[in-house]
Structure formats: C-alpha cells, structure tokens
Amino acid sequence: MKEIVVISGKGGTGKTSMVASFARLAGRVVCADCDVDAANLHIVTKPVIREKIEFIGGKVAVIDQASCTGCGRCHEVCRFSAVLEDGSVYDIDSMACEGCGVCAEFCPEKVITMEPETNGEWYVSDTDNGPLIHARLLPGSENSGKLVTEVRRAARRVAEEEGINTIIVDGSPGIGCPVIASVTGSDAVLAVTEPSLSAMHDVKRVIDLARHFEIKTLICVNKSDINEDITGQIREMAEKSGIPFAGTVRFDEDFTKAQICGKSISEFSDGTAASDVSGVWEFVRRELGLED
C-alpha cells in the first residue's frame, strides 16, 4: 500500500482540486481529507456518508460550583489562564483550557473533574472513485493533529479492508501539529506551490519539514505561467536540493470554474490545466512505483 500526501504550505494553491483530479485519474483509491480545519474535498467529490464517528479530542476541566470552597488553588496552578477568578468564584474558560488536568489534581476539595470534549466528527463516505475519509473540526477547537491521525488511521483500515493499494491524502496547511500529523509515516509528499515569492518561501518550509521527518518529497508548480521567472527558480531550487520536479500546471480559468461547478479539473475540462494535471499525476505514479 502506498500513501501520498499532497501539501502546500499555505491553502489556496489548488491542492484540493488536484487531489480530486488525481483520485479520478488513479481509478479506485482511498482519499483522506486531512485539512480538518477547512475541509473542502467533499465539495468536489460529492461523498455519500456511510459512517459518522464523533471525535473526542481531549478533555476540559469542569468545577462543581456547589462544592467549591473558593480557595483559588486551581487559579494558581493553571498556566493557561483558563481558570477565571471573580471575587471568590472560580470558573473554567473552556476555550482556553488545554485539558492538562493540573487544577483537578491540586484542588484540595477534589471538585474538579476532567470531562471528555467533543471536538468534531469524522466520516467514512463513498465517492465515484472510492472511499473518502473526511472530518469536521468544530470551529475554535483544539486537537486538530489528533483528528488528522484518526482520519489517516481510518483511511489505512478502509484501504486494507477493500483491497485498495493507493491512499491520497489532502494534507493540512502550515508546518505545525496538523501537518506533522498528516505527513509522518507516509510514503511521499507532493508539495504544490505557486510561482510567487511568498509561496516559494512557504514551500521551502514544508520541504524542510518533510526532510526533518525524512519523507521523500516531490514538488510541482500550479499557475506556473503567472510568473515564469519564479517557476524557473523553484525548479532550480528543487533540482539543487535533489527533489524530483513533478511538473507544472498552467494558469487556467477552468480551475476556478470547475470548482464553482463542484467538479475536479480533470472532470470539468480537457484544457491545458487538465492535461498538465494528468502529467503531474503520471510523474507521481512512477515515482511511487504504483502499478496500473
């Protein structure tokens, strides 16, 4: 089984549309949308939900007000300013609580309990190209890294059960906990970038991240003709660092139009961007050693 994670440093590079196209080009695959903060893959893959699972990410402290003596010990020990003090009344700001449990441990009256906190839900669904595992993190929630791990674990399980040998992961943005959870242990990372100085800066950081975790990295440039100069610089940077360059996708209004129609670019058109995307997928497939 091979698992490829598509990441981009920052959102908006066309990563999700590409993942949806790859899924279509690959035939039957398992897709996992690990951009749990702002999942979008379901918009273009039209999943039919098969299973829905609640995600309990962490815990949150709750004070039993009736038995609290107002000693303030909890306020003293909480390092996250999550225990609010109002005269001699103490209460937990659940948005700020990290769920560390220190207040509960040190409350002399033992009136603080750690309650499981629902941070979202995740789904196993069916699409035209195979199963999709996707999730919804409740707005403002923590523990996105944990949810990503759950989604990827489920994707592996489903792939095994259904004898599918390719998993395509729509990774999280950034370089922090959710993306670390998206890439660790995968077979390869495809970094999708754009020819702008800022995107180039972002992609360098995700490449460093992949290198830090020793994962094979490929790179491709979307909207490559917006700035041919920078596209050239990115290609050069890739070659110098020994990163296989998976190709370019030219700017094409069809990209946005496809999205507006709720379709992947491969499904929507057979124009320049669509054929460029299949070129990139061919490259990725060969690099990963995927058989037909």
């Binding site: 440093g9 920052k10 959102g11 908006g12 590079t13 999700t16 951009d35 903060d37 702002a38 979008n40 918009i43 815990k59 020990v77 390092r79 948005m95 990290e98 769920g99 560390c100 449990g101 220190v102 441990e105 040190f106 993190l137 707005p139 403002g140 929630s141 923590e142 996105s144 890294g145 943005p173 950034g174 370089i175 922090g176 906990c177 959710p178 993306v179 670390i180 754009e194 020819p195 702008s196 100085l197 800022s198 995107a199 800066h201 972002d202 950081r205 991240l209 830090h212 975790f213 909207k223 917006i226 700035n227 920078i230 700017f251 946005t256 139009k257 999205q259 507006i260 129609c261 709720g262």
Partner: protein, 330 residues
C-alpha cells in the same frame, strides 16, 4: 485599535489585504504596526521589507529530571495528559516536543526531582518597514483595469497623490521547523508593548487554536472570503469562530468572478450570495468587493504592493480604511 485579518483558509488574500492596508495606513500618517501571526508560514516580510530586524527567541518550559533524586515512583507520568513524560523500567523518559508546558509534573513530583528548562521553539522579530508609494515608488507602474478584468498598461502614474515615504512598525513570529506548537509564539507577539494607533494582526488561516489565539484579543475582525464554493465553506467556519467571541466583523469579498457567457454555470454569484447571506444573518458588514484580476496575482507574486499599482485595489483599501476609521471613532 487591534484589527485581525483572518480567513478560513490560506490563499484567500488575507496577507495581501493586511500588508496593503498597513502600508496605506502608514502613508496616511496613522501610527501603524503590522504583526504577522501566521507563524507557521509568515509571508508579510516579503511585501513590507522590514529593516533592522531584532530577533528574540521564543521558549517554552519543559521538564528535566534529576536521576539522582528520582525514585521512579511514576507520579509525573500519571499526571501528564500529553504522553510527554513516562516512567519506563524505573527511569523517567521525556518527549519535549509533546510537552504542553503545563507544569504538572514538576508540581506533582514528591522528591523535587523535576525542574524546568527553557526550550526554543521559534522566534519573534521586530523592525521597521519603509513604504514607498505614489510617484516616488521606483519601478512601479499603475495599471488601469477595465470592467471585464482585462488590463492595459498606462505607464502614467494614476491614483491619488501620496507622500513618498512612510514608516510602520513591523513584527513577525516564526515557528521552528519540526515544532508543533504555534500558540506560545503568537502569545509573545501579541503581548509585546506597542504604541501604535492601528495594530494589524495577520492571523494564521483556519479555525483552530492558533487562529483563535490571534483573533480573541482583537477589537475588530476583517474576514477575507474568496467568492468560490471552497471560499464560502471556509468563510462560514471562520465566521462561526468570530461569532463565538462576539467580536464585530467586516468581510471583504475577494476574487469576484463574473462570466457573462455562462452566468449560471461558472460565475461566482452563488458563492457571493451565500457569503452575503451569512453576513446579513450575523450582522457582519461587507466592507469591499475585489474583482478577480490576474494582474493582482502577478504583482503580488513578486512581493509588490497592489494598493499602489492597481486603482481598484487602491479604492478598496481606501474604503476599508475609511470605514475602520469610522468604527474607531464610534
């Protein structure tokens, strides 16, 4: 006045708007700070070219165990909710990158065997950006953009007369590669002493802890929404977070695309309508609508400030700034 620029996802145009607004505000003579809180991928410096950056490390406390004092009782491992410290075969092993620095293990150790050391996870930097605008901006051309989004190069400088140089305070945070936790860096950034009248926060994208951390102390949030189905979806999620905090909010609709030929099939109208409806229902104000113009992407790709080059952008930024001034004045 603290204004946070946020969006449900990166790529909506949040940084473009935040840096341009900061630059225009500075040119208008407003004492401005731009603070890049997108610490996983900070990009503001590419547009604002800060000078004389002074760096300060950001550290978090993590436990170290004195093996001579420790008797392997296991209490530290029991309290740790993050698997960051464990007792294996009578010895304490810690995993500093998992530690949330809650201090529980240090407090709970009966033998006083645990102390804390500071571990670096990133840095913050402060400096000054000099904004060159108007006729004095070297090598800058203005572009006229016609109604259909096409453009023609005018060579002539158009737009408002502006003074040539302005300064603004620039701050940014950077997370070290391989470190998972952005929040402590954002906290350091947002608690620095600051004397500006306008403090612009460029938030991390998304809706989770680091975005929450950067908008919670803001007086006003500007949500940037891309007028596409993805954009609508992301915008609503970010809108929910802003609602939870009860902060006043304005919305900028970005990359509005009209296609006459197939108004139903591929115009961005339905997404736009969806965004506006959400705004109506929740009392968010629509501050500006910015058309999808390839030139904006091209200029931004090289780190240029579009407010000084593209009249529609200039007008949009001016309008937003005027509206923010009204809101500040109450």
């Amino acid at each position: 006045m603290r204004i946070a620029f946020a969006s449900g996802k990166g790529g909506a145009g949040k940084t473009t708007l935040a840096v341009n607004l900061a630059a225009v505000a500075a040119v208008r003579g407003i004492k401005t700070t731009y603070s890049d809180c997108d610490v996983e991928e900070p990009d503001g410096h590419i547009f604002l070219h800060p000078e004389n950056l002074e760096r300060t490390d950001v550290t978090v406390p993590v436990p170290v165990v004195d093996d001579d004092l420790c008797d392997g009782c296991g209490k530290c491992g029991e309290i740790c909710n993050f698997n960051a410290i464990k007792v294996l075969a009578g010895r304490v092993v810690s995993f500093p990158e998992l530690c949330h620095s809650c201090g529980g293990c240090t407090l709970v150790c009966p033998l006083g065997a645990i102390s804390e050391i500071e571990r670096k996870t990133g840095h913050i930097a402060t400096g000054v950006s000099v904004v060159k605008s108007g006729k004095d901006a070297p090598g800058r051309l203005y572009y006229e953009v016609d109604e259909c989004g096409g453009e023609k190069n005018t060579k002539e400088t158009v737009g408002l007369e502006r003074p040539g140089l302005a300064k603004l305070r620039f701050t940014m945070g950077t997370l070290d590669v391989g470190e998972p936790r952005s929040v402590p860096i954002i906290q350091d950034l947002l608690t620095m002493p600051d004397e500006s009248n306008l403090f612009i926060i460029d938030s991390p994208p998304g809706t989770s802890c680091q975005m929450v951390e950067s908008v919670r102390g803001a007086d006003y949030v500007v949500l940037v929404a891309e007028a596409t189905p993805f954009g609508l979806n992301d915008f609503k999620l970010a809108g929910e977070v802003v609602k939870m905090f009860g902060i006043s909010c304005g919305v900028v609709l970005n990359r509005v695309m009209e296609s006459e030929a197939s108004a139903t099939e591929s115009s961005s109208r339905p997404a736009q309508d969806g965004i506006k409806e959400f705004c109506r229902e929740n009392g968010f104000e629509v501050l500006a609508e910015i058309p999808a113009i390839r030139k904006i992407a091209e200029i931004s790709s090289t780190g240029g400030l579009v407010a000084f080059e593209i009249p529609v952008m200039e007008q949009a930024i001016d309008a937003i700034l005027d509206r923010l001034a009204e809101i500040i004045a109450g």
